[in-house]
């Protein structure tokens, strides 16, 4: 974990073949074909995104009139969203940021705590606990929607803030998935050498200190990964949202945009695409920011020596 970049150099070395003396054939056999694969992969990855961007710039905003490369440019759809004529878009944005970050942070934090317990302690019910966790996560949650609805509706009678049609109420439902990342994180916990915490304990640290000062820093990469994972997951949620959030000012982007599209699928594609681009861009930027942790560091887990 100390020097992730350094390990790159040693991965698949071929020091005996200096690059400048390679013939084209040799170069192609060693390197060139990788570019071809890479470019093909990039085409596969990017063309749907190009389509979305093109649709967002196409003034007609219909499916039939959109091609990969926009023929006409117009920021009409962006303007109509930002001006608020299609609903309080900025408010949706704010709600989304609040919901996504809160849920993602809490989810990762609680998952990492639980993963710590599962990885570092041996207690009765540990295996059953892990198994049940997986089992519960596999229960089709949307089928218990009516039950959740009734529960939240009841809760709202006593704590209005956590009732229906409120962002905090929606948020705590999503926290039901708080242990969703335990399996992933535990895998990486298991690969951090136990000698690390044992040494710290000999130095007089207690388990909370071991957790916060030794283990958490060692797991930053996987935490960054899971944070993003959980963030994007929450961002896409609209099934529960469209039931629980009815006031315009309480909606998230997913719920609001889905509403736009369901109202008129063929004609609102442009607005929908513009909204999508505005969701995508921050995620991509965040990803670029987190990439250094992620790429360098999922490493910590892979091998323990």
């Amino acid at each position: 974990m100390s020097a992730p970049a350094a390990s790159t150099t040693s991965s698949i070395p071929a020091p005996q073949v200096p690059q400048h003396r390679m013939s084209f054939g040799r170069w192609f056999a060693e390197i060139g074909w990788r570019h071809i694969v890479g470019i093909l992969a990039v085409i596969f990855a990017v063309f749907p995104i190009l389509f979305v961007i093109s649709a967002s710039l196409n003034p007609t905003g219909t499916v039939a009139a959109t091609s990969l490369i926009p023929r006409e440019f117009s920021f009409r759809h962006y303007e109509s969203l930002l001006s608020g004529e299609r609903g309080p878009f900025l408010r949706w944005y704010l709600n989304t940021v609040i919901v996504c970050f809160t849920v993602a942070f809490v989810q990762v934090f609680l998952s990492v705590m639980a993963a710590y317990a599962f990885s570092r302690f041996r207690f009765k019910g540990r295996r059953i606990g892990l198994l049940s966790l997986l089992l519960v996560m596999m229960f089709p949650a949307i089928l218990s929607m009516i039950a959740i609805y009734t529960m939240i509706s009841d809760l709202g009678k006593v704590v209005p803030l956590l009732g229906l049609d409120s962002v905090p109420g929606y948020l705590i439902i999503l926290l039901g998935g708080s242990l969703g990342q335990v399996w992933l994180i535990k895998g990486f916990f298991d690969t951090v050498p136990k000698e690390l915490d044992e040494a710290a304990i000999i130095d007089g640290a207690n388990h909370w200190q071991v957790f916060t000062r030794i283990l958490l820093p060692a797991l930053v990469p996987i935490l960054a990964t899971t944070l993003l994972l959980s963030l994007v997951g929450v961002l896409s949620e609209f099934l529960l949202g469209s039931i629980f959030l009815t006031s315009d000012e309480n909606k998230t982007l997913a719920v609001g945009l889905y509403g736009l599209l369901s109202e008129n699928r063929s004609n609102n594609l442009g607005v929908f695409a513009a909204g999508s681009v505005m969701i995508m861009v921050p995620v991509i930027i965040l990803y670029q920011f987190l990439q250094r942790y992620i790429v360098g560091g999922s490493t910590a887990g892979a091998v323990k020596g």
């Binding site: 219909t62 499916v63 039939a64 609805y149 956590l162 229906l164 006031s247 000012e249 004609n267």
Partner: protein, 434 residues
């Protein structure tokens, strides 16, 4: 609630400060409980803050009248509802429920969290009534003189009036004059011939999709001789007399299958692209409703509009008429204001007129039809076509029709055997109705 809120504020303030303390102290704590403590504190202080701030932000319970509608209708109702409420000295909130309004409304109403009024199509009535979700409304004595017959017929269910109608929709035929010489074909056969002569890429844009679209297919289905439910002695829909799978429906299926084989009907034309195929000048004809008019005008297509024709020598095509109406929630907190508001809509065309400004839908109010006929002749014409259409059946059993019938029609368009597929759909529907 007021008293409780105050207590809650005080309590959460204490809780927040106390738990913050706990969290600070917990750094050197041995028990690891700070995680739980800190998040509790966050929750509690949020609670206090937002609760205090809730006064300014309208929330569901705070308005004197809460109305739910889908995206477009909510937008168009926003202003008129506010104008009305201001005049009454009350507050109103119009909320958009984007996804599956009917189901969400029934669930919310049952839980006591629903709105006071909901806007929806008249074919919801049967399901809303069986769930006890709406209260009857009493229309003024002179309603029959003011409202188009189709509007009144649609909101009457089992002899009772359940909604206040304000707009009606039905399918019509649009022709692109640049692609065809026959702006108002008298039959489907004539339509196909004219479009083929004009060389259009798509003869007729009628959404089918892989899952079918029984709503848009209804004119062809009825023209071929199909029907959904028979009527009993009192003129109510009779779910025991199911037309799907009967002789007429099979005759219709054969005609539909032939159009599919001919490439006129295609599963690749879906709700996503049907209108845009026409507005992009690719389709010679389009079967769609008043909602397409806006796009067609924006695209600048030179079009003609007429009633949907039937097959040559067969029954006339009878598309569905869908009436949009206001319903009073059975479990709303403000039933009094709700009845007052729908009473206003029923006796006075003003609100419907204002809604028309932002969401053009053919009105059912006769006075308003008259008034708009100069500026929006097409809208009024669609309202007239609707008189010839059949109101969508509003009995709850109708829910069993859409899926299987649409699916069967899509399969038949795709080349499946018309008779056996339609019969299977009939069996499936009969099985679901029970």
């Amino acid at each position: 609630m007021q008293i409780r809120r105050k207590n809650f504020l005080a309590l959460s303030g204490v809780a927040a400060s106390v738990t913050l303390l706990a969290a600070c102290g917990g750094d050197s704590d041995t028990d690891g409980g700070t995680g739980g403590g800190a998040s509790d504190a966050g929750g509690a202080s949020d609670a206090g803050g937002a609760e205090g701030g809730a006064e300014g932000v309208p929330a569901r319970g705070d308005a004197d009248l809460v109305i739910w509608a889908d995206e477009l209708k909510a937008k168009s109702l926003q202003e008129p509802a506010k104008t009305w409420a201001d005049a009454q000295g009350i507050t109103v909130e119009v909320q958009t429920v984007a996804n599956d309004l009917q189901t969400n409304y029934v669930t919310a109403n049952q839980a006591g969290n629903g709105p006071d009024i909901v806007l929806g199509a008249h074919d919801w009535i049967g399901n809303l009534v069986q769930n006890g979700a709406i209260s009857p409304v009493q229309l003024p004595g002179d309603a029959a003189d003011k409202v188009a017959p189709i509007g009144l017929q649609a909101v009457t269910y089992d002899g009772q009036t359940y909604g206040v109608p304000y707009a009606v929709e039905t399918l019509v035929l649009y022709a692109n004059n640049a692609l065809t010489d026959v702006p108002e074909p008298g039959s489907i056969e004539e339509l196909v011939e004219a479009a083929k002569a004009g060389g259009a890429e798509v003869v007729l844009s009628l959404p089918v999709g892989e899952q079918g679209d029984a709503y848009h297919m209804q004119p062809l289905y009825t023209s071929g001789g199909g029907y959904l439910f028979g009527t009993d002695a009192e003129g109510n829909q009779d779910p025991t007399d199911l037309g799907v799978g009967k002789e007429g429906s099979i005759a219709a299926a054969e005609k539909i299958g032939a159009l599919g084989a001919d490439g006129v009907l295609r599963t690749s034309i879906t709700g996503d692209n049907a209108i845009s195929l026409f507005t992009d000048g690719k389709a010679a004809y389009l079967i769609s409703g008043p909602w397409a008019l806006g796009d067609i005008n924006t695209a600048g297509i030179d079009y003609a509009m007429s009633a949907v024709p039937g097959f040559e020598g067969m029954e006339p095509a009878k598309p569905f008429a869908g009436v949009n109406a206001f319903y009073v929630a059975s479990n709303g907190q403000n039933a009094g204001f709700a009845q007052t508001f729908v009473g206003e809509v029923a006796s006075n065309a003003e609100i419907a007129e204002q809604m028309f400004q932002s969401n053009n839908l053919p009105p059912v109010n006769l006075e308003l039809q008259e008034k708009l006929s100069g500026e929006f002749p097409d809208m009024v014409k669609i309202a007239e076509f609707a008189e010839l259409a059949e109101p969508m059946p509003s009995i709850p059993q109708m829910a069993a029709i859409w899926g299987p019938l649409g699916q069967a029609q899509a399969n038949i368009v795709g080349g499946a055997d018309p008779a056996s597929t339609m019969e299977a759909a009939g069996e499936e529907i009969a099985g679901q109705i029970g």
